[in-house]
């Protein structure tokens, strides 16, 4: 294990310890005990909204029970069908016909995915390709590797910032693209996605087996120019 990696792990352990200490001492920040004596009386509207939450949860639990009953019924139906199928399959003429049907169906519609075991990619800050082009006034103020991703923050004089994230290709990454139109673009002839959310432009694409995510309050062309300078 490299020294830097070991240091990061020790730092993680320190954070776990400090977090546990924070929870243990929560009473010093927010003392318990005097809650019932509070002078605040909750509004009727608030009480109604809270009742709705509990009613909604009750409804959900009822639905879960109904679903569980349906699953039980489905299992019984499945058992009956299995028994019927066993009977059918013991008769030669029917068996051949039914097997042929499934083979034909499978040839028409099945797609096979070969799943090879890919090695785990460990990110090293020194190995990350960074943009050689930065918009006027921007410079890196902070960067680092946390778990399986690298993050760098750039700022200009007016405190506008753009963020570069690099993740291993097999990382699970959530990008908030809800209620936006995703535009398919090219970065150095490679497919990429661009979208605009809350005035922040975001480009994501795969480069050198890593996922690059650039987000900044910059226009699309400027963002593409930054992305294309990462080589």
């Amino acid at each position: 294990m490299k020294k830097q990696e070991l240091n990061e792990r020790v730092f993680d352990e320190l954070l776990k310890y400090a977090s546990a200490d924070y929870v243990e001492n929560i009473d010093s920040q927010w003392p318990s005990g005097e809650e019932p004596d509070s002078e605040h009386t909750f509004s009727q509207e608030f009480n109604k909204k809270m009742e709705l939450i509990f009613a909604e949860q009750k409804k959900r639990e009822r639905m879960i029970k109904i679903k569980q009953s349906l699953v039980k019924a489905a299992v019984i139906v499945l058992l009956v069908l299995t028994a019927s199928l066993f009977t059918v399959m013991t008769v030669d003429a029917l068996r051949v016909k039914i097997l042929n049907y499934f083979i034909e169906k499978r040839e028409k519609s099945t797609t096979y995915f070969m799943n090879s075991e890919s090695p785990v990619v460990i990110l090293n800050a020194q190995d990350i390709a960074l943009p050689t082009y930065l918009p006027n006034g921007y410079s890196m103020v902070s960067d680092g590797v946390i778990d399986d991703y690298y993050i760098a923050i750039y700022k200009d004089d007016a405190e506008n910032e753009f963020i570069l994230e690099v993740l291993a290709e097999d990382s699970i990454v959530g990008i908030d693209s809800e209620h936006v139109n995703v535009e398919h673009i090219k970065i150095n002839n490679q497919p990429a996605e661009y979208y605009l959310k809350d005035k922040i432009g975001i480009i994501s694409y795969i480069h050198n087996e890593r996922i690059y995510v650039l987000s900044a309050p910059l226009d699309k062309d400027e963002l593409i120019k930054i992305a294309e300078s990462i080589k």
Binding site: K3, Q4, N7, E8, V10, F11, D12, L14, L15, K16, Y17, A18, S19, A20, D21, Y22, V23, E24, N25, I26, D27, Q29, W30, S32, E35, P36, S38, H40, F42, S43, F46, K49, M50, I53, F54, E56, Q57, K58, R60, E61, M140, V141, S142, D143, G144, I146, I151, I153, K155, E159, E161, I163, E165, I172, V173, G174, I175, D176, V213, S215
Partner: protein, 172 residues
């Protein structure tokens, strides 16, 4: 115990405390009630494990959820105010280099004190990740912020802590 019963017990145990936490940020009763309501909506939408309603672990969890709902409301109401926004940070790292730690009691005290005094929006994500062991996705869903914001806040929190350690002489 089903979730409805748990939600009701949490509500009776913590509604006043949650209101106080929200009020300390919003300074408005009606908005503070909205934050408490939003926090319980989050609990309704998300799965979570409660071992003991009255434990410090549960109490901290409830405080973190309502505090972040209150911050979200504050940011919506005060769009120009940067008080609780993510870009309100003085820490810069002009020469980021490898982390070099020297562990001693002082290091541990510095990191504990810094976490306690840190801006709550950074401390909260650190605690959810390192104490509750929640994924970025789960933290994002629970606090109504994007996963990217979660990652940025954790990165910044680590930078703040590393910077304090540096000042304390525990890092070279």
């Amino acid at each position: 115990m089903n979730k409805k019963v748990i939600l009701e017990q949490l509500y009776h145990q913590y509604k006043i405390l949650m209101f106080k936490v929200a009020f300390s940020i919003l300074n408005n009763s009606s908005l503070a009630e909205d934050a408490v309501h939003a926090a319980f909506l989050k609990l309704l939408e998300n799965s979570f494990v409660i071992d003991d309603i009255t434990s410090k672990k549960t109490k901290t969890f409830m405080i973190i959820v309502v505090r972040n709902m209150a911050i979200n409301i504050y940011n919506k109401v005060n769009k120009e105010d940067k008080k609780y926004r993510d870009d309100n940070l003085d820490i810069t790292d002009p020469s980021p280099g490898p982390l070099e730690l020297t562990i001693n009691f002082e290091t541990i005290d510095i990191i504990k004190d810094t976490l306690r005094s840190m801006d709550s929006k950074y401390a909260d994500v650190v605690i959810l990740k390192y104490f509750y062991d929640y994924s970025y996705k789960k933290i994002s869903s629970l606090l109504s912020i994007s996963e990217q914001t979660v990652r940025v806040r954790i990165h910044r929190a680590r930078r703040i802590l590393a910077s304090r350690l540096n000042e304390g002489g525990s890092m070279s």
